[in-house]
């Protein structure tokens, strides 16, 4: 490592973020419940004396959020910075590596907070001699608005929402949504919820399986009936709009024009999401960020469901980003007992990667 990483805490402190030292070891369930089994396979696991499964922290965002929730009212405004080791099993890269970054919680002026975050990320990159990075940006709020304005049944809207961030999968869903690939269930076809519910209850009795803490007969029957909607697929027009949407990419200005054109042609109400997108770009420009050098892609997003809007990435030449950040308004509602959704945005610098770029 060069001496450059050591300069980040001062940069972050100057921007008003308070440095926090956080534990390295956490109960594994904290990470697994939030990010799922996919993250678990990257975790360094061990166990406590009593048998509880523990994990070395795989990132700082979750620990910072837990720390915030433990120390006071969830919705209070606070900015944190960190620097230290994180641990992930990564093929071809070291399992222990250093990250630094910031997290902002509780700011209600989301657009300004997004812009401040991207500006600070540019300043951090500049410390490593990275002058004109090709930064990728995305906004899942646009996709959410598109889904809301299209003529879709609820089960299809959920499927498509979940595939955002994984474009090949999203395209596969769109292709399979023509109403031919999913035959309706033969037994009880067209039956109502009560009939199906009674059948499910009989099956529960016959197999001796209890509903226990698992899926209930009500739940199974409701989804059974909803499957008819899946079988009907989505309208051709909606499939066309989705396909056109995921293809949109380029400078923010060009992308905004393309999105407006699509909305107008298809009669979609994307006004609020597009206005927010435009205000955010204006806020970037006000921070003297070269907005024409930003690479927007309509399909760029993170698959983790707690990310809710603006995302960005400073790409490396090899694996993974040099800096990755975004808005995760749903995280506080998912972790611990925090039932309240607190606006949150932040970024992490992958110091092992960025420090190498800086040396070249």
């Amino acid at each position: 490592m060069t001496d450059k990483p050591g300069k980040l805490p001062a940069l972050f402190a100057g921007a008003g973020y308070k440095y926090v030292e956080l534990p390295i070891v956490y109960p594994a369930r904290v990470f697994v419940e939030l990010a799922g089994e996919e993250l678990r396979r990257q975790l360094y696991l061990t166990s406590a004396d009593g048998g509880e499964e523990l994990a070395l922290r795989p990132d700082f965002t979750i620990p910072v959020t837990l720390n915030h929730l433990a120390a006071g009212a969830a919705t209070r405004k606070a900015g944190y910075s960190y620097l230290g080791p994180v641990f992930r099993l990564r093929p071809g890269e070291t399992g222990e590596f250093i990250q630094a970054g910031v997290e902002s919680l509780g700011r209600r002026d989301a657009i300004a907070a997004d812009a401040d975050m991207l500006k600070l990320a540019f300043d951090a990159a500049a410390l490593f001699g990275i002058k004109k990075p090709k930064v990728r940006i995305g906004d899942s709020a646009l996709f959410a608005a598109l889904l809301d304005s299209l003529d879709l049944s609820a089960p299809w809207r959920e499927r498509l929402a979940r595939a955002f961030g994984d474009t090949p999968r999203l395209k596969r869903f769109i292709a399979n949504a023509d109403g031919t690939s999913e035959p309706p269930h033969s037994e009880f076809a067209g039956a109502d919820v009560a009939t199906v519910r009674a059948a499910v209850a009989e099956h529960f009795a016959a197999t001796g399986l209890g509903e226990g803490g698992g899926r209930t007969a009500d739940e199974i029957a409701a989804r059974f009936v909803a499957k008819a909607e899946l079988a009907r697929g989505i309208p051709k027009r909606a499939a066309g709009a989705l396909t056109a949407f995921v293809r949109i990419a380029g400078t923010p200005a060009k992308s905004l024009a393309a999105l407006r054109k699509l909305a107008e042609r298809e009669g979609l109400d994307l006004d609020a999401a597009l206005a927010a997108f435009e205000r955010r770009i204006d806020a970037f420009a006000a921070h003297r960020i070269d907005v024409d050098a930003l690479a927007f892609a309509a399909d760029f997003g993170r698959r983790l469901d707690y990310y809710t809007g603006f995302v960005f990435e400073f790409p490396s030449r090899g694996n993974g980003p040099l800096i990755g950040g975004g808005r995760y308004d749903r995280m506080t509602a998912h972790v611990g007992d925090g039932k309240v959704a607190v606006p949150a945005v932040g970024f992490s610098v992958w110091l092992d990667r960025i420090d190498k770029v800086g040396k070249r």
Binding site: G36, E37, E38, H203, L209, G210, G212, R215, I220, R223
Partner: protein, 230 residues
């Protein structure tokens, strides 16, 4: 004499009997060691040392490069030695499928796509993730990831996996089945596209150990003889 080829052979149950039978038919009867029962040899191949281990151990030792080769299931290789072993020869016994099985009353779940829908909507309703009991942790992760399923959690099972949904230990399972009878007896059904792999016992070579010319030669002799027998 140069260092022998270490060949791991199942040490218990049906697999041990079937493996011993195949070696006998191939004219390579296994001879148990006089003093150490977990070591053996093959009379006509003095450059081979037989190590008796359980089938899961054999896959792990092959992956670790502490034995050259062994007899174990393709399911064990997929779980513990993925990319670190070569399946040299299928042996025609120990057949089983690794499958995704859900409670039979889940009338709405027929495909992995259904399971993905259920997994995604499970936490908002139940306040926890959908759980899958299995001994096949790596196989399950790969298969679920291939189907884009992320919203679940594995509960490691150390035996009698098929009872996990009934006992409330997990919502569904990934396990081996040969006839499906045990699954049915436990009120479970196989998801239609949930057959993860069709397994049988194989002669398996390690890619994680150094092979001398003599060891390669001895292994080629074992492969040729067994091939003629199965």
């Amino acid at each position: 004499m140069s260092a022998p080829l270490i060949l791991a052979v199942p040490s218990k149950g049906r697999l041990q009997d079937d493996a011993a039978a195949v070696f006998a038919i191939a004219g390579l009867p296994l001879v148990s060691g006089a003093t150490r029962s977990y070591r053996g040899r093959i009379e006509s191949l003095p450059n081979v040392e037989v190590a008796y281990l359980s089938a899961p151990e054999i896959a792990r030792e092959i992956a670790a490069g502490s034995v050259h080769a062994g007899i174990t299931g393709a399911d064990q290789v997929a779980e513990s030695a993925d990319g670190r072993a070569t399946l040299s020869l299928p042996l025609g016994f120990g057949r089983c499928d690794v499958v995704v099985a859900v409670p039979e009353p889940w009338l709405d779940v027929e495909t992995m796509e259904d399971l993905d829908d259920v997994a995604a909507s499970f936490r908002p309703t139940h306040g926890r993730r959908l759980t899958v009991a299995t001994k096949y942790i790596n196989v399950t992760r790969r298969f679920f990831a291939g189907h884009g399923i992320a919203d679940y959690r594995i509960v490691e099972s150390l035996g009698a996996t098929e009872g996990a949904p009934a006992s409330g230990a997990a919502d569904l399972i990934v396990d081996i089945t040969s006839t499906g009878a045990t699954l049915r007896a436990n009120g479970l059904k196989i998801v239609s596209d949930g057959v993860i792999l069709r397994s049988e016992a194989h002669l398996v070579a390690s890619k994680a150990i150094r092979w001398s010319a003599g060891q390669k030669q001895a292994y080629a002799a074992v492969v040729a003889k067994l091939k003629a027998a199965v």
